[in-house]
C-alpha cells in the first residue's frame, strides 16, 4: 500500500469556482521522494495544502487523498491535527513567517513534541537539542535559546526542518524550502535535507519552480501546468528526453550555465511555437 495516494484531486476556490487543481493523481511509497515542479499558479502548492488538510474553508475539494490509509478529504479538524506532525509535516518557504517571533526557537520545537507525544519539558529539551544538532546547526544550545530574529535565514530554515522532523513523520512536505535563501546557504540546507531524510527514512514531497533544486533531493518528478500533471518520470529521463513542450522549456531555462553570456536565452514559449518537435 502506498503511503500517499492522491486520486483525481480537484480544488476550486470561491463562488466563481476558479479551478486551481483539475484532476491530479499520483502516489508515493514509504520513503520515496517526489518532486513537484511548476510555475506560480500551476497548482503545486494547493496540491500540497490539500495533502496537509490546510486548505481554507472556501475551497471546494473533490477526489480522494489517502494518507497512511486514512482519507483526508472531508476529515474534521481534530482528525487532521492528529495526522499533522505524527504522519505528515511541512516546511514552508519563508522561515520568518513560519516561526513565532516572540518565542525562543527551542520552545517552539519542543511544543511540537509536547502536542503530539505529551513529552515533559525537561527531557524534551534534550531531544530538541539533539534534533537541532542533527540538522547541522552548530552550537544547538545557543540556537535553542535564541529568538528567530537572532538567527540567519539558513539557521531559521534548519530550525524549521528540525521541527518538521522531530516527531519522525512518515512524510515531509517541503514547499520551496530554499527559495528565500542565498545560493551558498541553499546548497547547505539541501544537502542537510537529503541527509536527514536518508537517516529518518521519511518520504518527501518537494515543491519548487526550479528543476535544478528539485534534482538535489528527488529522483522522481511531476511537472504541473494549469492545475494538471503534464509529465512525470525520473529526473534523468525528464532531463535527457523531456516530452511535453513545457518540460522542454523548463529544462532549457534551468540551465543558465550552458548559455553563452549575453546571448538570447531560450524561454518556455520557444518550445510551443516554431517547428514541431520529433
Amino acid at each position: 500500500m502506498s503511503l500517499l495516494d492522491v486520486r483525481d484531486l480537484q480544488v476550486s476556490f470561491g463562488r466563481s469556482r476558479t479551478e486551481a487543481v483539475r484532476g491530479v493523481s499520483f502516489s508515493l511509497a514509504a520513503g520515496q521522494r517526489l518532486g513537484v515542479i511548476g510555475e506560480s499558479g500551476s497548482g503545486k502548492t494547493v496540491t500540497a495544502l490539500a495533502v496537509m488538510g490546510l486548505l481554507p474553508e472556501y475551497a471546494h475539494v473533490a477526489g480522494s487523498v489517502r494518507l497512511g490509509g486514512s482519507e483526508i478529504v472531508g476529515l474534521d479538524e481534530s482528525g487532521l491535527a492528529r495526522l499533522r506532525g505524527n504522519t505528515v509535516s511541512m516546511v514552508f518557504q519563508e522561515p520568518m513567517t513560519a516561526l513565532d517571533p516572540t518565542m525562543r526557537v527551542g520552545r517552539q520545537v519542543a511544543e511540537v513534541l509536547r502536542l503530539h507525544q505529551g513529552a515533559e519539558s525537561g527531557p524534551a529539551r534534550q531531544r530538541v537539542i539533539a534534533m537541532l544538532d542533527e540538522v547541522g546547526l552548530d552550537d544547538p544550545e545557543r540556537v535553542a535559546d535564541a529568538f528567530p530574529h537572532q538567527l540567519s535565514g539558513g539557521q531559521r530554515q534548519r530550525a524549521i526542518l528540525a521541527m518538521a522532523l522531530i516527531n519522525s513523520p512518515d512524510l515531509v512536505i517541503c514547499d520551496e524550502p530554499t527559495t528565500a535563501l542565498d545560493v551558498t546557504v541553499q546548497a547547505l540546507v539541501l544537502a542537510k535535507l537529503d541527509e536527514v531524510l536518508d537517516a529518518s527514512g521519511a518520504a518527501c514531497l518537494f515543491i519548487s519552480h526550479d528543476l535544478a533544486v528539485v534534482s538535489q533531493v528527488c529522483d522522481q518528478v511531476l511537472v504541473m501546468l494549469d492545475g494538471r500533471i503534464v509529465e512525470s518520470g525520473t529526473v534523468d529521463r525528464l532531463f535527457t528526453a523531456p516530452e511535453h513542450p513545457y518540460t522542454r522549456g523548463l529544462v532549457a531555462t534551468a540551465q543558465l550555465d550552458r548559455a553563452e553570456p549575453g546571448q538570447r536565452l531560450p524561454t518556455v514559449d520557444d518550445f510551443y511555437t516554431g517547428a514541431p518537435h520529433g
Binding site: 510555475e39 506560480s40 499558479g41 540567519s152 535565514g153 542565498d182 545560493v183 551558498t184 546557504v185 541553499q186 546548497a187 539541501l190 519552480h209 526550479d210 528543476l211 535544478a212 533544486v213 534534482s215 538535489q216 529522483d219 525520473t234 529526473v235 534523468d236 532531463f239 535527457t240 522549456g249 523548463l250 529544462v251 532549457a252 531555462t253 534551468a254 540551465q255 543558465l256 550555465d257 548559455a259 553570456p261 549575453g262 538570447r264 536565452l265 531560450p266 524561454t267 518556455v268
Partner: protein
C-alpha cells in the same frame, strides 16, 4: 587627494558605511574603492550581509556614506543635499528585487511609470518637455507590455510582468545607468529567462551602463562583463567576468560558484 578623471562614469574611494544596530556598530561597507566606465556592465555578487546592496544604494545616492567619497560623471555626490541630486536621479535608475513591494498597489501602471517624469528634481534635468503619454507608450513597448497595460493596477499582472513594469518605470527618464538589485531572484525559473533577455536587449539598444547585484553568479555571468565579489563589506575579487568565472582567485568565489544548483540526474 587628486580629483578623479572625468571619464570614469563612477568612482568611489574608501567608501564606508556603519549602522548602529541594538547598540552595536555594524560595518556594512569597509573602505571600498571602485571605478566604472561608461557602457560597462558590472555584476556585484556576494551573500546576504556582504554589503552589495549597501554599496549600490550609496552609488544611487539613496544613502550617505559614513566615510569615503563618490563621484558620478566627475561630480562629487557624497554629501550633496537632495535638491541638488536631480542630475543623478535623472541619470541613474533602480530596479528592485520584489516587484510586489516596489510598485504602489494603489496606483495605476501609467502613473507608476510616469511618476519619475513628474518629479520636480528630475523634470528640471530633462532637456525638452517630455510628452508623458508618448514616453509611457514607448517604454511599455520597450518592455513588451501591451499598450493598454497603463490603465490597470499592479495586482492584475504576473510576477514577471510586474518586473517589466518596474523596468519600464526605470527607463522613463531615459537614464544612462540602470542599477538592478536581484532583478530575477523573486521570479520563477521559467520567467527568469524572459526578464534576462529583456535586460540584455535594453542595455544593448540604449547603450546603458548596468550594475547588477545578485547572489547568483550565473545571472551575473550572463548579464555582466565585469565582476566584483563582495564579502564582509569588502570587494575581495574584481575582474572580467569570464576570467573570474574560469579561474576564481579566492576560495570564497569558488564556493559561490560551486553552490549554484545544477540538474543532478545521476549519482543518486
Amino acid at each position: 587627494m587628486a580629483e578623479p578623471r572625468a571619464d570614469h562614469l563612477y568612482r568611489a574611494e574608501g567608501l564606508t558605511r556603519r549602522y548602529r544596530n541594538g547598540g552595536r556598530d555594524v560595518l556594512a561597507l569597509d573602505a571600498v574603492d571602485l571605478s566604472l566606465d561608461r557602457g560597462h556592465r558590472l555584476g556585484i555578487v556576494g551573500e546576504s550581509g556582504s554589503g552589495k546592496s549597501t554599496l549600490v544604494r550609496l552609488l544611487a545616492g539613496l544613502d550617505h556614506p559614513s566615510a569615503g567619497r563618490v563621484w558620478f560623471e566627475g561630480t562629487e555626490i557624497t554629501d550633496l543635499p537632495e535638491k541638488r541630486l536631480g542630475f543623478l536621479r535623472a541619470s541613474v535608475q533602480m530596479v528592485f528585487q520584489d516587484p510586489r513591494s516596489s510598485l504602489n498597489p494603489r496606483m495605476r501602471v501609467s502613473d507608476i511609470i510616469t511618476e519619475p517624469l513628474r518629479s520636480r528634481l528630475v523634470r528640471r534635468q530633462l532637456t525638452d518637455r517630455v510628452d508623458q503619454q508618448r514616453r509611457l507608450a514607448e517604454v511599455l513597448a520597450a518592455v513588451d507590455l501591451p499598450p493598454d497595460a497603463g490603465g490597470r493596477y499592479p495586482h492584475e499582472f504576473s510576477g514577471g510582468q510586474r518586473q517589466r513594469i518596474a523596468i519600464a518605470r526605470a527607463l522613463a527618464p531615459d537614464p544612462e545607468v540602470l542599477i538592478a538589485d536581484e532583478p530575477v531572484s523573486a521570479l520563477d525559473v521559467s520567467v527568469r529567462a524572459q526578464v534576462l533577455n529583456l535586460l540584455t536587449d535594453l542595455v544593448a539598444a540604449r547603450g546603458l551602463t548596468l550594475i547588477v547585484v545578485s547572489h547568483d553568479l550565473m545571472v551575473v555571468r550572463h548579464l555582466c562583463d565585469q565582476l566584483a565579489v563582495m564579502r564582509q563589506g569588502r570587494i575581495i575579487e574584481r575582474g572580467a567576468t569570464s576570467s573570474v568565472y574560469a579561474d576564481p582567485q579566492t576560495g570564497y568565489t569558488r564556493a559561490l560558484l560551486e553552490a549554484v544548483p545544477r540538474i543532478r540526474a545521476e549519482g543518486r
